[in-house]
Structures are given as structure tokens and as C-alpha cells.
């Protein structure tokens, strides 16, 4: 590590020798002449590019004199490539018009290979949620938005991609959730705190399915979800959003514990601007939910800040901070089936207070048209205390850093490499005062053959140490192919090894909560996986896009919670073997281009504990979704339908032990949501009004044992952009 300053110095020297003053600028519009904000402009054959600002303008500098072609892309529009543009010493203006399309394969992602790629160029399955997917549904926390992503399911607040995770009360995650590439798992439980992510600042959410340990290391064994935040505005912009909603009365009078419709509300204020070379965005949100269940309320304040400082035209220093202050009730399990919205008597009045914040700094530099450098560091602090008889507390800090380079060696060979490290420290009466450390190095090579085949080979080496436990290392190789058979058809295949180190919570938790006693297991081993996938994407003209993927994930020493029969205590154990096989089908119908679209998907999962020949918990065998959207002028309307087959296995031990009465009650899920919006611009106001009705049928279902999912609720929201 002591050589890092020397390497950086050399890279800076290299930059000064190759930076050139050639400039391309211009404006990107749609076919109606409307400026497109956030369109990506990339100079082909280089790593140079830019995004358009609010007036659709872009500027790319530092080009060597020569002849270039540009690729322009934006979510919802067909990617286009310009003709040849000659660059000399004088700036050259290139304006461009993009054509609308609903086809997802044209979308651009940065998460799969740690650089910008089109979805159709990826060798692995991926999907993207856009900011409108989030705002149109009045999503107040990212985990709700993820329920609409194909192949993803949420077990309460625990995310699972293609059945990677069951439910373990937040301890450990098999999906790495990051914000602009910065990991967001806590240092103690290793869980994801979704509330710290500012939903109104999300530009898009990229979801990479399948083991991604070869680039991202532990916790990415089941995939990666990367939240990309919005770009900072060049001109002053004020965004205000407020909402008010009500839960309906429960479907059965026995459950109506309060006799009232329970309200929820929130307000967000965001300001963004640039002053000279400094751009900034400040956002503040207050939200309150009195809860459809007793002791399931929350009150939270969140803050978000991001600043960009352009050190040079080709280098940027970004600072980002996110803050969460939350007080919430702690609903553990229902009392019984006649009181599903009330906690058990012994859990009454439980409350958790928490303060969490994340600070990050990112330095990006285009050292040459073929060499890109990114250096980042972050600190994630969590501090929580529950007000129960056990008075559990935990203070955790995790310091993380990464140096990443992208280097185009020759036209057909592109290398991505980096070093990443994290160190954590915990002080808790639950976990003790353990610390953790891991370091990893990765290298990925992407080779494009002259015929339309791209071969990707990559590997990562990690060393992890969890306090007093014996340190271990892991080597995670990956190989992948993307073959473009025609403009309409792309084949992909990948195989890779993944691994996940146990979290401090999984190895060291010692507590009693909600009638469950949890004991540590210091003998817990890391789990590993071998993931394979093959897929095909085919477009039937511009109207229909189809995607089929077959996948198989073999897990070794799979970590799952369970009851130790010796003493009846819950502990985390290594299952010797687990296997998850399945298929995923996605169909996108652009029924009336620009006005009416239908997105459907179906996932089949066969998830088994091979050793005991039992189904893995909380993995529905069949999942299907359909989203229909219609818009005409200022008016839009849509519905989302979600289906889960009845979960085969859940924590039956808790039923057998009498901890959760009627805990074996479970049903298939039929969930229907409705949304409509009206653009107030037609009334001369720069805003939008939304009406959302979630769980329109007031259908009663569970995601995890003893927890009824939200009953029917409706909200009105209003947003303004000045």
C-alpha cells in the first residue's frame, strides 16, 4: 500500500502528457425537439464520455485530433451511433436526435463490469429500474421498489435474487447493495438499511443477477444491486415532494385493533445547483408512518448531500453523505391468526432508535482516452439501541476503500482491475467487541473478437478475517460469453465462483428476542458457490422484446439459521449443500409505442437442501409479475400484478416450538397495485399529482412467518420541480 502514492504520481504524470484540447459539444433531443436530460454520450474507442444536462447539452474535452464516432444512449430511447466526426483544435458541435423505444435491452449499466455497457452487451442477466418506476409508484424506501424487479423478491427487508436468500432477521446478505458503487452493508449484522438511500435522488437501480464475487467479493454471492444517484444540475433546481396516505380497515373485524384508518406521510426538499466548478445537491426528508400494525410505526429524518468538484476538465472529486435518524416500533411476530396485526404480549412496546450515516469521497480521472482511474473511500457508521428488556445496543464503524482502473490495451482488449479493502469495528452487547478485515484484488479482461463474440475472463482474490476466527482466503474466477447472433438476437453464458464470509452477527450473536434465544457459532465457515447461467435475448421488431435465462447455483457450506436440537436455541449453521435451479422469462410488449406498454416476467425456482432433501425456506417455486402502463398527454395510468406460489418451507421450528402461533398459515400471493398520475404542466404548474392504491384487493398474505404484509392503502402525492 505504501507504493500507492508513487503509482498515483506516475498516473498523474501520464495524464499531463496525453491530455489534448479537442472538444465536442452539442445538444441531444427527442424527435419532438424536447431536450433529453441524462443521455449518455460516449466517444467510441475511448473511455471519454459525458451526460447531458437539464437543457440536453453535453461537452466532451481532452480529445486528440482525429476522426471519431459517438454512441448516444438513454433509458427509453434507441441507442444511436453518429457518423464520423473530425476533431481538430477548434470545438466541434454535434447535435443529435434520439428515437423512443420501450426496449430494455438498449439500456446502459455500469455495475456488471464496473464500466459503462449496454444491457445487450452483458454476459450476465441484468435489469434496470428507472427513476420513474420509483416516483410513479410513490416508493418511499428502495426495498418496496425492488419488489417490482424481475427475479427479485423481498422477504420483509431481506433481498433475494433468484432465491439466493431466505430470511434471517437481517443478519447477512447474499446481495451486495451499493450506492454509486459504495457498499452499504452494516459492519455488525451485514444487513442493508434501505432507509438510508434517498429514493428521490435515484436515477436508476441496476440489478446484476448471479454470483458477482469475481468483481465485488463477499456479499455479492447472489448478485449486486447498485443505486445510481442523479447527476447534479448546472442550474438552480428545487424539488419538493409531499405525500399523505391511509391504510384501509383490515379485511376482518377481528384484526381491526385500532378502529381507525392509519395514516402515513412524508415531505422531501431537494436543492441542486452548480457554482463555478462546484456542483452540489442537498436533500432532506421527513417521513412518518403510524403503521397498519400495532407497534409497527416509524418516524424518520434523512439527509443527503453530494458535491462534485471538477479539478480539471477530465477529473472530478465527489463527496457524498447520507444520514438517517429513525425511531420505530419493533413488530416481531403476530399474536395469533385472530390478532395478526398485533404483536405477541411479550413483544408489546418494543422500540428501536438508530442513527446511521455514510460518508464517501470519490476521485475520478480520465488519465488518457484509454485509461480511467477511480479512487474511493467511505465510512459507514451505525448506532442503534432497542428499548426492550435486553436493551441491546450496537455501535459499528466500517471503513472501506477501492482503487480501480479501466485500461483499453488495444482496440479489442479492455482490462478492469482494482484493489479493495474494508475494516470494521463493533461494540455491542449482542456481538461483543469484534473486528473484521478483508482485502481483495481483481482483474477482468474483456476481449472482442472480430466476429460478434465477446469473451470475459476475470478473477478476484480475497482474504478475510473475522476477529478471533481463523482467517481464510478465497479465489473467485469467472468466465463469460456474449454472442450477438444478429441485431435482434443475443446469446450469453457465464460461469463463476462466489463466496461469502459470515457476518459478525451470524458468528457472534448472543441474545434473546421475541421469545427466541440466539446463540453464537464461532465454528461457522464461509460459504462458497458455483453459479452458471445461459440466456438468450430476442427482439421481435421494436414492439416485443423477450429474454430467457436458465440458471443453476450450487452452494457449499450454505449458511442458514436453525434451531439447535441440543438446547433449542437458534443459531447459524453451515448446510453442507444447497442447490438452486430455475429459469426466468421476461417479455416486454410495446403495445402502442410511447403510450401503452406491458412488462411481464416469470421465474421458476427449484431450491433444495441437497443433503436433507428439503426445500429451502422462503423461496416460492413460481413467481410472476405483470405491469401495464398507459399514458396519453398529461395523464397516465398503470397497474402492477404480482403472484407468488405458496411458500413450501418457512421456519416451521418456530411453530413447533410454539413461538409463533398459527405461524404455518400461508397462502399464494395475488397482489394488485394501481397508480395514476396527472402532469400539472398543462395547468401551468411544474408538477405532477399521483394517486396510488397498493394491495387494491386487500389480499392478506405473508412474506415471512407471522408477519402480515401491508393491507390495502392509498396515497396522494404531489411533486414540484422549480
Amino acid at each position: 500500500m505504501k507504493f500507492l502514492p508513487v503509482i498515483l504520481f506516475c498516473l498523474f504524470c501520464l495524464k499531463d502528457t496525453v491530455a489534448q484540447p479537442g472538444t465536442i459539444y452539442g445538444r441531444i433531443t427527442d424527435i419532438r425537439g424536447v431536450s433529453l436530460t441524462g443521455a449518455n454520450v460516449v466517444i467510441l474507442g475511448t473511455t471519454l464520455g459525458a451526460s447531458t444536462d437539464t437543457s440536453g447539452r453535453y461537452r466532451i474535452t481532452g480529445l486528440k485530433p482525429g476522426v471519431y464516432r459517438m454512441e448516444i444512449s438513454m433509458i427509453g430511447y434507441r441507442k444511436s451511433v453518429t457518423g464520423e466526426v473530425e476533431i481538430g483544435r477548434s470545438p466541434v458541435q454535434v447535435n443529435f436526435t434520439l428515437e423512443e423505444t420501450a426496449l430494455q435491452s438498449k439500456q446502459v449499466v455500469v455495475t456488471a463490469g464496473k464500466y459503462e455497457q449496454q444491457l445487450s452487451e452483458l454476459p450476465v442477466s441484468a435489469s434496470v429500474l428507472s427513476s420513474t418506476d420509483i416516483t410513479d409508484r410513490n416508493v418511499v424506501s428502495l426495498d418496496y421498489a425492488l419488489r417490482y424487479a424481475p427475479g427479485v423478491n423481498m422477504n420483509l427487508d431481506q433481498v433475494s435474487i433468484r432465491g439466493s436468500s431466505g430470511y434471517s432477521r437481517g443478519a447477512g446478505t447474499r446481495v451486495l447493495v451499493a450506492m454509486d458503487g459504495i457498499p452499504l452493508y452494516t459492519g455488525d449484522t451485514g444487513e442493508i438499511i434501505y432507509e438510508i438511500i434517498p429514493v428521490t435522488q435515484i436515477d436508476r437501480v441496476e440489478i446484476i443477477k448471479g454470483a458477482a464475487s469475481s468483481l465485488y467479493g463477499s456479499t455479492a454471492i447472489g448478485g449486486v444491486i447498485n443505486v445510481i444517484t442523479k447527476d447534479i444540475q448546472d442550474k438552480p433546481q428545487l424539488y419538493i415532494k409531499g405525500y399523505y396516505g391511509l391504510y384501509d380497515h383490515p379485511a376482518h373485524k377481528e384484526w381491526d385493533w385500532s378502529g381507525q384508518r392509519r395514516p402515513y406521510n412524508g415531505l422531501t426538499l431537494t436543492h441542486s445547483n452548480s457554482i463555478g466548478r462546484l456542483g452540489y445537491v442537498l436533500s432532506f426528508t421527513r417521513s412518518e408512518n403510524l403503521g397498519y400494525r400495532q407497534d409497527d410505526y416509524h418516524k424518520r429524518y434523512t439527509g443527503f448531500i453530494k458535491t462534485d468538484y471538477k479539478l480539471t476538465p477530465l477529473s472530478t472529486l465527489t463527496f457524498m453523505g447520507s444520514y438517517l435518524n429513525q425511531s420505530r416500533g419493533n413488530f416481531v411476530y403476530w399474536k395469533d391468526s385472530r390478532h395478526v396485526l398485533q404483536p405477541r404480549d411479550i413483544d408489546q412496546g418494543q422500540k428501536v432508535n438508530s442513527i446511521r450515516y455514510m460518508l464517501a469521497a470519490v476521485y475520478k480521472d480520465v488519465l488518457s482516452p484509454d485509461f480511467f482511474l477511480k479512487v474511493r473511500t467511505s465510512f459507514y457508521r451505525t448506532n442503534w439501541r432497542d428499548e426492550t428488556s435486553s436493551h441491546d445496543t450496537s455501535k459499528t464503524g466500517i471503513l472501506e476503500g477501492e482503487v480501480q482502473t479501466n485500461y483499453r490495451v488495444i482496440k479489442s482488449l479492455f482490462l478492469t482491475s482494482g484493489v479493495e479493502s474494508a475494516a470494521g469495528k463493533v461494540n455491542s452487547n449482542l456481538f461483543g467487541t469484534p473486528n473484521s478485515f478483508n482485502i481483495g484484488a481483481y482483474l477482468q479482461a474483456e476481449y472482442r473478437f472480430s466476429f460478434p463474440l465477446t469473451l470475459t475472463l476475470g478473477a478476484r482474490y480475497d482474504f478475510s478475517r473475522l476477529d478471533t476466527l481463523k482467517g481464510f482466503d478465497s479465489f473467485s474466477p469467472k468466465a463469460a460469453l456474449n454472442y450477438r447472433m444478429s441485431d435482434a438476437t443475443t446469446l450469453r453464458a457465464s460461469v463463476g465462483k462466489g463466496f461469502r464470509a459470515p457476518t459478525l452477527a451470524e458468528a457472534f450473536t448472543s441474545t434473546a428476542a421475541g421469545g427466541i434465544k440466539i446463540k453464537p457459532n464461532p465454528l461457522l465457515k464461509p460459504e462458497t458457490s458455483l453459479s452458471m447461467e445461459a440466456g438468450i435475448n430476442h427482439s421481435f421488431g421494436l414492439l416485443v422484446n423477450s429474454d430467457l435465462a436458465l440458471f443453476q447455483n450450487e452452494y457449499y457450506h450454505f449458511i442458514e439459521p436453525g434451531v439447535d436440537p441440543i438446547d433449542g436455541l437458534v443459531t447459524f449453521r453451515n448446510l453442507t449443500r444447497a442447490r438452486i435451479q430455475g429459469l426466468e422469462v421476461n417479455l416486454t410488449f410495446n403495445l402502442v409505442p410511447g403510450n401503452l406498454s406491458l412488462l411481464t416476467n416469470y421465474t421458476y425456482l427449484w431450491a433444495r437442501d441437497i443433503e436433507r432433501n428439503l426445500p429451502l425456506k422462503y423461496r416460492p417455486r413460481h413467481q410472476a409479475q405483470a405491469s401495464l402502463s398507459f399514458n396519453a398527454g398529461s395523464f397516465e395510468i398503470g397497474t402492477d400484478f404480482r403472484y407468488w406460489s405458496k411458500i413450501e418451507a418457512l421456519d416451521f421450528e418456530l411453530v413447533d416450538l410454539g413461538v409463533v402461533l398459527d405461524g404455518d398459515k400461508r397462502v399464494p400471493v395475488y397482489l394488485l397495485d394501481f397508480r395514476t398520475g396527472y402532469n400539472l404542466l398543462s395547468l401551468g404548474l411544474p408538477g405532477k399529482l399521483f394517486l396510488n392504491i397498493n394491495n387494491l384487493l386487500n389480499y392478506n398474505y405473508i412474506e415471512i412467518i407471522g408477519n402480515l404484509s401491508p393491507i390495502r392503502n392509498a396515497s396522494l402525492s404531489l411533486e414540484f420541480l422549480f
Binding site: H252, E254, D564, I566, F641, D656, L657, K665, N698
Partner: protein, 170 residues
């Protein structure tokens, strides 16, 4: 295109037709089944030739070989597979002889090596006994009140250190 829209419409209707409101409350005053649940852990190597293993409960203490009889026997669980290292059980799940509310003096794990089911005391041996409140000097008493499911009944079967055998065994 119309065909597609019709397909989507009727598919949705088909799915929703299976939707009956979901989870419902149990009827008011429905008696809750009395029973007990917990776990059994097995330590050491299983004895060769064991043909059946059951959790059993007797109403009265086993003070003589005669107390091991069908009238005193109040509960027999489903058979536990040979070689199991541990199970979590509920008396409500597949009992061979269901239990009722009441008091039980002796709860144990009993094993047999006979090829056919026998109620002869000499055909059985006890590999684990339920002890209450950590007192391993005498068998624990299990009390199941009316309409109550008693939890946390844990039994350890240590094949290397078997518990005292009731009278009448081999």
C-alpha cells in the same frame, strides 16, 4: 394486438379467480389443540440394530415393569429416522398416539431393536429422558393445561452416557 390484450385480460382474471382474500382468522372460540413441542438431540454413535425410535410420555412413573403398559402410555411420536443427529418436534405432527391435556410423569425417548412393534418392556430401552428445570436427578413432570401447547421440551440422548433405565428392562 387485440388477441394479446384479451390474453392479458383473461390471464389476469384467471389468476384473480384463485384469489380468495388470503389468510383468514381462525374461528372464534376454536379450541386450541393441547400438546407439547421441543427438540431432541442425539450425541454419540447410534446403537446398531435400532429399528424404531419414538418420543413417549407416560401418565404415571415407571416404578415397575408393569407400569410400562398401554393404559399408562399417553403419547407416542412418529418414528425418528435412524442416525438422526437432532430434531425439532411437535406432538401435533403425525403422532402415533396423540396426547391430551394433563400431567405426565415420565417423558423420554425410547428405542427398540425388535423387527415388529412390541409393547413388551424388555424390547425397549430409554436413550434420553426429559428433565425439568435442569434437575437431572429425577425425570421431569410435564404439565399440559387445557387448550395449551407447551414449548421448550428438550431431551438429549447421549448414547455414551445413557440415562437410568426404568425397571423391567434387559
Amino acid at each position: 394486438m387485440k388477441i394479446l390484450i384479451y390474453f392479458v385480460f383473461f390471464s389476469t382474471l384467471f389468476f384473480l379467480s384463485g384469489c380468495d382474500g388470503g389468510i383468514t382468522p381462525s374461528p372464534e372460540g376454536a379450541p386450541k389443540e393441547a400438546g407439547f413441542g421441543g427438540s431432541v438431540a442425539f450425541k454419540g454413535k447410534w446403537p446398531a440394530g435400532v429399528t424404531r425410535t419414538h418420543i413417549v410420555a407416560f401418565r404415571n412413573p415407571l416404578n415397575s415393569a408393569g407400569d410400562f403398559n398401554a393404559l399408562n402410555l399417553a403419547f407416542v411420536s412418529d418414528s425418528i429416522p435412524f442416525g438422526t443427529t437432532g430434531i425439532v418436534f411437535s406432538s401435533l405432527i403425525n403422532p402415533q398416539l396423540p396426547i391430551k391435556s394433563g400431567e405426565y410423569a415420565y417423558v423420554a425417548v425410547a428405542q427398540s431393536k425388535t423387527p415388529s412393534l412390541s409393547l413388551d418392556r424388555k424390547d425397549w430401552f430409554v436413550s434420553g429422558v426429559y428433565y425439568a428445570n435442569g434437575d437431572t436427578t429425577k425425570p421431569g413432570r410435564l404439565v399440559i393445561p387445557e387448550n395449551t401447547f407447551v414449548t421448550d421440551i428438550h431431551i438429549t440422548c447421549d448414547f455414551n452416557h445413557p440415562p437410568p433405565q426404568p425397571p423391567g428392562g434387559q
